[in-house]
């Protein structure tokens, strides 16, 4: 019976030591991202039924000490699920916010340097020519203002096209990140399944896998399906990205100005549904081309309307009819707007008059200046300035919507994460208290061994020596 007490005390010693180990592990990982605190669950070991032929007067069963039943993660998978679903929308909105911030920088409004002001200056320059059609200085100033306008329109168009190219770069980087996550998930699945099969609980591996799943959620709208054997499968639009220890890489394809994410080695597009990859595709295939198109509408309206009037006019040096038919703007093969080079070289050729040889005639200059208020865009419902202002407001509105969505989504994700953290985060105070609790229990168990030892000593060395 005494030997059994030794065993009981020893079990206590071992169990408390394991608990101290776990508290140590928690403290060490207090700041590790994705780490869920671990708890040792202690259970009393199987009690010993004292054998007897008849019912003895003794108590029926004797305790045999403690066992470490398991070391488990304190984690609520419901919150993980919610966190990932909301992260998908957050990843999408954040990507849009970043992109719109860059787009807004391209427009650079409202400032004195924005296209709106440059358009105003262009129209004003035509009126100045109208006021002094004979004056070469006014004409030279017009060429300057028109060139500045054209240069900035081209710059904006080019920068938006560059943003579109950047989007493909980001897409490629993120897809390779998704591939790398998928690869690591497949490998973790393999290790976890193997560990579980041998009856172990691979807590830390599972934490790592959960962290990767959290990360993955930002990129795509993947659905996660846990399997009974402990592996998780990940599906994109019904097709597996990770199937137990297998994974299927994605690739980026750009053809005909449209970007798509495909299953590598196939021509099937991936159903992304949400996440930052989806946002990048949306930006590349819809938002940016739409904006470029609108700038091109402005460019074409400017060139066509101004040219139509300019063609029927006469420059200072045109002394007889018919009109020389010079255009004012030209659109290059690359889509750039520029002032007709002959006019830059000789501003006298700017056609301000509607009759030859009349230097004081400003009829064409006036008509061009009045294009400012002509409804030439949006199927005849908007002036060029209106159209541009609306475009800026649209960009601002879309950007604001993305910001609001991002802020709301972030608040939601943070709230869910907070709920997760309430459950899984390591509290140092708690661990310190536990450490002391287990340390004392360890000490007490050691003292119990000493007590048993003394009892044995009494029996072995002290018994039967009466009177010595």
């Amino acid at each position: 019976m005494v030997f059994r007490a030794l065993e009981t005390a020893f079990r206590g010693l071992m169990a408390q030591q394991r608990a101290v180990d776990t508290a140590n592990h928690n403290i060490a990982n207090a700041n590790t991202p994705g780490f869920a605190r671990q708890r040792v669950s202690l259970v009393p070991s199987m009690p010993y039924t004292v054998p007897a032929f008849n019912r003895s007067g003794l108590a029926g069963q004797v305790g045999t000490g403690v066992l470490v039943a398991s070391i488990t993660r304190v984690r609520e998978s419901v919150f993980d699920l919610q966190y990932r679903v909301q992260s998908q929308a957050l990843g999408e909105a954040s990507t849009l916010v970043d992109a719109y911030a860059q787009i807004e920088a391209v427009f650079n409004e409202p400032t004195e340097a924005g296209l709106g002001t440059l358009l105003d200056r262009f129209w004003r320059a035509w009126q100045a020519v109208g006021n002094q059609p004979e004056d070469l200085a006014a004409r030279a100033a017009l060429v300057q203002d028109a060139t500045t306008l054209a240069t900035n329109l081209n710059r904006m168009r080019r920068q938006l096209t560059e943003l579109q190219t950047d989007t493909v770069t980001k897409l490629t980087l993120q897809v390779s990140e998704v591939n790398s996550i998928a690869e690591r998930l497949a490998s973790l699945n393999q290790q976890i399944v193997a560990a579980l099969a041998t009856g172990q609980t691979p807590n830390d591996l599972m934490d790592q896998r959960d962290l990767l799943l959290d990360k993955l959620a930002r990129f795509t709208g993947a659905t996660i399906r846990p399997l009974p054997n402990g592996a998780v499968n990940i599906y994109l639009g019904g097709y597996p990205l990770v199937d137990q220890d297998q994974w299927f890489p994605l690739s980026v394809q750009v053809s005909g100005g449209t970007a798509s994410v495909l299953w590598q080695g196939t021509t099937s597009p991936v159903a992304l549904e949400r996440g930052s990859l989806q946002a990048l595709l949306h930006l590349h295939n819809a938002v940016l081309p739409g904006l470029v198109q609108k700038l091109e509408d402005i460019r074409d309206a400017l060139a066509n309307e101004v040219n139509t009037l300019h063609m029927i006019g006469y420059g200072l040096s045109d002394l007889s009819g018919p009109p020389p038919g010079r255009s004012f703007f030209q659109v290059t093969a690359g889509g750039e707007l520029e002032v007709e080079p002959s006019l830059v070289a000789d501003p006298q050729l700017i056609a301000a008059a509607d009759a030859p040889g009349e230097p004081g005639n400003n009829a064409i200059a006036r008509q061009i200046a009045e294009l400012r208020s002509k409804l030439v865009l949006n199927s005849g419902t908007a002036t060029i300035n209106d159209f541009y202002n609306t475009l800026v407001a649209e960009v601002g509105g879309a950007s604001q919507t993305a910001q609001v969505t991002r802020d709301n989504q972030r608040a939601l994700v943070e709230a869910i994460d907070r709920q997760r953290q309430e459950i899984m985060a390591v509290s140092l105070d708690e661990e310190m208290a536990n450490l002391i609790k287990y340390q004392q229990a360890y000490g007490a168990a050691a003292r119990a061994i000493t007590a048993v030892d003394e009892m044995l000593d009494r029996i072995i060395n002290g018994m039967g020596l009466v009177g010595r």
Partner: protein, 291 residues
């Protein structure tokens, strides 16, 4: 609720950065004096600011046009006044020459003065402003009166010079030489011929032509005066519109300083408080009290 130190630190960092972001935004509004620095700050406001800014630019240009047109009309008026005075003097001379008692020599002297007056009127008709002839119609680079002929021939055209003074509104700024000055020159030439012929009856008959020319000159001057009045009214209207447009643009786009500074102080207070509270909250753990 179970709160850990990590969560406390996270909350502190999140709130501090949110606080700084709000402070930065108000700071930017104060230092730039603009309420809107990016279209997404207020998309509708941005469109309003752009539209009003553009309207102000448009009005400023019309104001500049009005000023230039005004200058041209003022110079035209001065020139016509000078011509009117010369014509007045010519009429006096013709009345004098019609006097039966005058000798041929006296009439010769009057003829010479009339010739000088005719030349002076033609020279006035050749007045230019900044290299542009006032009375040549749209042929502003051509001297309108050819002094080598007698009477000086008009080489301009009868085109009106027009200036935009409002959206879709133009004003004629010139008086062409053929309507106002050519009749004067013709009348004086005819009077000179009659004086040279030493014929008092013929001289008297020229007075009607001179008066008719004078009436035409006065009509031209009256029209110039009317147009100057119209320009002044237009300028007042444009100035009013400019002021109200700028005021609206300022309301839409400028920072309300009193409000912004109040908000900044509030954010600053919150930030300081958050720092202070944070510094105290994240410091102690149980470790500090275990010995």
């Amino acid at each position: 609720m179970r709160v850990t130190h990590g969560m406390l630190v996270d909350t502190l960092l999140k709130n501090l950065s949110g606080n700084l972001a709000r402070m930065e935004r108000v700071y930017q509004q104060i230092t730039s004096a603009r309420r809107i620095s990016r279209p997404s700050d207020d998309p509708v406001g941005t469109a309003t600011v752009l539209r009003l800014g553009s309207a102000a630019q448009e009005i400023e240009q019309y104001l500049a046009n009005v000023e230039q047109a005004r200058t041209w009309l003022d110079l035209t008026d001065q020139a016509l006044t000078t011509i009117g005075q010369s014509l007045q003097r010519a009429r006096e001379l013709v009345v004098q020459a019609a006097n039966d008692t005058l000798s041929a020599d006296d009439r010769q002297a009057i003829w010479q003065e009339l010739t000088a007056l005719q030349e002076q009127i033609a020279t006035t008709g050749n007045y230019a402003h900044a290299g542009r002839y006032l009375f040549a119609g749209s042929l502003t680079q051509t001297e309108p009166f050819d002094l080598s002929t007698d009477p000086p021939t008009y080489r301009g055209n009868s085109d009106q010079l027009q200036r935009l003074i409002d959206r879709g509104v133009t004003i004629d700024i010139n008086v062409t030489g053929d309507t106002a000055i050519v009749p004067v020159l013709t009348a004086i030439k005819q009077a000179r011929d009659a004086v040279a012929a030493n014929d008092p009856v013929a001289i008297r008959s020229q007075l009607a032509a001179i008066d008719a020319a004078h009436t035409q000159l006065l009509a031209a001057q009256a029209s110039v005066g009317a147009r100057v009045n119209r320009l002044e009214a237009q300028r007042d209207r444009l100035l009013d519109a400019h002021t109200s447009t700028l005021r609206l643009a300022s309301e839409a786009g400028d920072t309300d300083m009193a409000e912004a500074i109040t908000r900044f102080s509030k954010e600053e207070l919150t930030y300081r408080a958050a720092l202070q509270a944070g510094a105290r909250a994240i410091q102690p753990t149980l470790l500090d009290y275990l010995r």
